[in-house]
Amino acid sequence: MERVPILKIGDILLVSIQLDMSDQTAVQLQEDLAERIVATGCHGVIIDITALDIVDSFVGRMLSTIASISKVLDAETVVVGMRPAVAITLVELGLSLNGIRTALNVERGMELIAAARADELEYQLDDDPDAETATP
């Protein structure tokens, strides 16, 4: 069975989908990804769908599920590289991929995750009054 490779770059896991997704590959990818997030402690997941010609409701639901799983494991999911034709089709079908963040390319996706991460850290520091006194 074909598997989708998961690459670790710094604090981010990069998943590049290069093949037509079937039920099995989708389930396998979800399992692999959940395991890798826990094992590596990454806080960002980038799913690259540049190579996908067709995104139907099945792939859309898979992306949503992956985003939800990652969210539970405290990792931000960004879908990158959606083709114009794919976006138009999704809009015409009325699928809006709720709860999924998107970026134009991998680079922007990494920036987005870094920014979200920075916001979160700042928020935690602000929230904790001892944090500043502990580290002068």
Binding site: V91, L104, R108
Partner: protein, 286 residues
């Protein structure tokens, strides 16, 4: 079938025997109808081409315009009507170039006389009618393709996507936005976003005369598609009357940013991207 073998044999003899005279007379009649918009020499060349095409086809036996043997004749006719259509001649002016052959043939048949004169003339006349119809049809086809080409060019021309800043592109929409145009705008904009890697797009509707629910629907679809790809859209150039119409129609733009002018939209985007804009002190002359 327009002419049987016997008739076409006589036609070939008639055209071949008086080649010089036929083309001269034919050119003369056509010249009168075109009122000098085509040079004598060029017209003569066209008529000679037609003459030789008809004579050759007639020489091969029975003439059937749809048969393979008449390929050369069909090509000559199409060539003529295509040329005329592109030069802006009317349908009448084009087909009369063919129908003029009737007059020429009438004269020749009358001179030749004989028992079959009337029968021959009617048969020839039918052939010329068929040739004329074919010419007319290819004339119309050429004109239609011209119109289609122009419509497409107009569509291409009217939807430019311009880069305003690093990472910011704008689409100034001008004219009525129908489904076909909206589709082109959407595809162009999204492709440009991918090509330039711009995370922000401004849709300027200053030039759109009226915004109804359908136009709003198209704009909303474009914005949602851009969002799916990871880019943000801002709508600018909303004129006062249009703002009133939008509210009156109950169109909801939701959380899409709308600005009154393109300048406002650009400033908004620059603030989002963190670009600092500072007003410089105007330089004073000493």
């Amino acid at each position: 079938m327009a002419l049987n073998a016997e008739e076409s044999g006589r036609l070939a003899a008639l055209l071949g025997g008086h080649a010089e005279r036929v083309t001269a007379r034919w050119t003369e009649i056509v010249t009168g109808s075109l009122r000098g918009r085509l040079s004598q020499a060029e017209l003569r060349r066209q008529v000679q081409d037609l003459h030789s095409a008809i004579a050759t086809t007639a020489g091969q036996g029975a003439i059937d315009l749809s048969a393979e043997s008449s390929g050369e004749l069909r090509a000559a006719l199409s060539e003529l009507s295509r040329g005329r259509a592109r030069q802006g001649f009317s349908a009448t002016e084009t087909t009369i170039s063919i129908f003029a052959l009737k007059d020429v043939l009438a004269e020749l048949v009358q001179e030749a006389g004989g028992a079959d004169a009337l029968h021959d003339y009617i048969a020839f006349s039918n052939l010329v009618d068929e040739l004329g119809l074919f010419t007319f049809e290819s004339f119309v086809r050429t004109r239609e393709s011209l119109i289609a080409d122009q419509a497409e060019q107009l569509l291409e021309l009217s939807t430019p996507v311009v880069k305003l800043w690093e990472g910011v592109v704008a689409v100034p929409l001008v004219g009525t936005l129908d489904s076909a145009r909206a589709q082109v705008v959407m595809e162009r904009l999204l492709q440009t976003l991918v090509d330039t890697g711009s995370p922000y797009a401004i849709i300027d509707i200053t030039g759109v005369p009226a915004v109804d629910t359908q136009v709003a629907q198209h704009i909303l679809k474009t914005v949602v598609a851009a969002r799916l790809m990871g880019a943000d859209c801002i709508i600018s150039g909303i004129r006062p009357q249009i703002a009133q119409t939008i509210v009156a129609l109950g169109i909801e733009f939701g959380d899409i940013a709308t600005k009154a002018s393109l300048a406002d939209a650009l400033r908004h985007v620059l603030r989002l991207t963190g670009v600092e804009t500072a007003r410089r002190q105007p330089r004073r002359d000493a």
